[in-house]
């Protein structure tokens, strides 16, 4: 009886919300750009958006497609849109980045945002839209940028662009040299099944006490020969599939001051297999020859794709990129990656970039001729 009443109340609430939102679709999603933005919205639409009851919450499936036009005079290399839901603000938010865009002035291009929002029925609502989409950063092909950059998107877009140029140059050279078998291997032979093994990740941010069963594990280093920053090892607290507060000692071996370092992390499972977990940028003022310790706050949990915990056997760190005080960026070259490790799987994981993913997809769909056509485009 009680559950029936509760269900009826929930359904009534849902009907009310649906009816209210049906009056104005803009209540669900709002896309806002500054008036002087180099990109403006041409149109937006919600695809098969649905709402349904899930426990004591309402689940919204939003499938938005936004058509944008490059209204500036420069070619856009990439952009990042910020996605904010009023129920999570200010603690959580999302973003959608499109790198390797190559949008010429006047060109219209689409950006799709597929999201799911789970909000409690008793959540306070205001007059604003449920989801707001806004511009965070636009990167042009001359590496200048526009936007508030609240999510530190400019740095990420810069790294994607430098990696794209590196990989395009490398693959174009293979093509020009007629090394087609090597080129096919670099692009996974056009097979999607050869994608890298995935990890499940969970990030917890509240301060946590040290557990008695935690073990101190030393952090090894994967070094790139031309890296301006030397990784000298470190330590982390490990408990089962959790890593807490990993830290690593770094030394600036360049002649330039450093503004930030993005440290990459490789997780080794109990069978000795390595997985690139990702990279974390951190602001760090580091003068030439100076050493410092980088510490990642919070706790990381790793799991297999199927969900079972992955027992951590070890940790490795590598310098993914370095931003100097003058704003220039260093990323490892293909030769650096080749010489860093003998493990072909790890080497492939280190070399994978958004641009390479895009080129592999072009090769899969259009073959070698399509790839050659794409690589002929000017940078």
């Amino acid at each position: 009886m009680g559950s029936s009443l509760r269900r009826a109340a929930l359904l009534a609430s849902l009907c009310f919300l649906l009816a209210a939102s049906a009056k104005s679709q803009s209540k669900w999603l709002v896309v806002e750009f500054p008036h002087d933005s180099p990109v403006l919205m041409v149109s937006s639409g919600l695809g098969p958006t649905t709402a349904r009851v899930r426990g004591t919450s309402m689940e919204l499936d939003l499938h938005a497609s936004v058509m944008l036009r490059n209204t500036g005079t420069k070619t856009i290399s990439g952009l990042t849109l910020r996605v904010e839901a009023q129920d999570l603000t200010p603690s959580g938010k999302g973003s959608v980045t499109v790198p390797s865009l190559d949008a010429q002035p006047g060109q219209i291009f689409p950006v799709r945002i597929d999201m799911e929002l789970l909000r409690p029925f008793n959540a306070a609502t205001n007059s604003g839209a449920v989801v707001q989409v806004s511009l965070d950063c636009v990167l042009f092909n001359d590496l200048s940028s526009y936007g508030p950059d609240k999510l530190d998107s400019r740095r990420a877009l810069m790294v994607y662009e430098l990696e794209a140029r590196r990989d395009r140059h490398y693959l174009a050279n293979l093509l020009a040299a007629g090394k087609l078998s090597e080129l096919r291997e670099e692009l996974n032979f056009g097979l999607q099944d050869l994608s890298l093994q995935q990890l499940g990740l969970e990030l917890l941010h509240e301060p946590r006490p040290q557990f008695q069963r935690e073990q101190d594990v030393s952090v090894g280093a994967v070094s790139f020969p031309s890296s301006p920053v030397l990784t000298m090892g470190g330590a982390a607290h490990v408990w089962g599939n959790e890593v807490r507060a990993p830290q690593v000692e770094v030394k600036n071996r360049s002649q330039k001051s450093i503004r930030s370092i993005e440290m990459g992390w490789i997780v080794r499972d109990e069978r000795g297999r390595d997985f690139v977990a990702g990279a974390v940028p951190a602001a760090m003022q580091l003068a030439p020859v100076e050493t410092a310790r980088m510490t990642e706050p919070g706790t990381l949990r790793f799991s297999r794709p199927a969900g079972q915990p992955m027992v951590i056997g070890g940790l490795l760190a590598f310098v993914n990129d370095v931003e100097f005080a003058d704003g220039k960026l260093w990323i490892p070259s293909r030769l650096d990656i080749k010489e860093a490790t003998q493990d072909p799987t790890l080497r492939r994981a280190l070399a994978t970039s958004p641009e390479q993913q895009k080129l592999a997809e072009i090769y899969r769909r259009k073959g070698m001729s399509g790839l050659a056509e794409e690589l002929k485009k000017p940078e």
Binding site: T97, V98, L203, V280, L300, K358
Partner: protein, 209 residues
């Protein structure tokens, strides 16, 4: 000399006693009966033995009656009967326990064999990580191991999306299963994939603070 022959021809007194009680074999009894019919001395001896036997039977009858009267004490009889019943039941239990113990032992041996086979199969076929996961789950169920408290903002990957949970709400940005999922910041995860519709590389991220 004649008396010696006569003495030798008379049967022994014990034989006559057996005869009077009807305890001799048929052939011996027939031979002795012919002797007694011809020998008055042995006949008298048999008569005396009959009389003595009847006297003993009468006295035995009197003794039995006396004993019956003695057990007329019903309380004592009840105690004796209960005691006998208790002894009998205890004995039956002892016998029953012996049989049941064997059955229990047999069942335990079979169960131990099955468990041993299961453990051997588990060790050889199930990966260690799954075993650890199972033990951890069982410990959590039994309350022996408390799950680490999860509060505040949580950023996590899911099979079809990356999600941030904060303030009771969850925002998940969905991606295809072919996406490459990576740690992207101190409080961010990213999913990188090629959008099937637009053909563009897309990188979705969620952030927690």
């Amino acid at each position: 000399m004649r008396s010696g022959e006569a003495k030798q021809s008379h049967p022994a007194l014990s034989t006559l006693a057996l005869y009077s009680g009807g305890d001799l074999p048929w052939a011996e009894r027939w031979r002795l009966r012919r002797h007694i019919q011809q020998c008055p001395e042995c006949g008298q001896q048999v008569s005396r033995l009959h009389s003595a036997r009847e006297q003993l039977q009468r006295e035995a009858g009197l003794e039995t009656l006396t004993a019956f009267e003695a057990i007329g004490d019903w309380n004592r009889l009840e105690r004796e009967m209960l005691g006998n019943i208790a002894v009998g039941v205890a004995a039956a239990r002892c016998v029953d326990k012996v049989g049941r113990g064997r059955v229990v032992l047999l069942r335990m041996a079979i169960a131990a064999g099955v468990v041993g086979l299961f453990v051997a199969g588990w060790v050889t076929h199930v990966p260690k990580e799954q075993t650890l996961h199972l033990f951890a789950s069982l410990q959590r169920l039994a309350g022996a191991q408390q799950p680490r408290p999860v509060a505040g903002t949580v950023v996590r990957t899911l099979p079809d999306g990356i999600a941030v949970r904060a303030q009771g709400a969850t925002l998940m940005i969905m991606h295809p299963q072919t996406a490459v999922v990576l740690l992207s910041g101190p409080s961010a995860v990213a999913a990188r994939y090629v959008d099937e519709e637009t053909g563009q590389v897309t990188i979705a991220k969620v952030y927690g603070q």
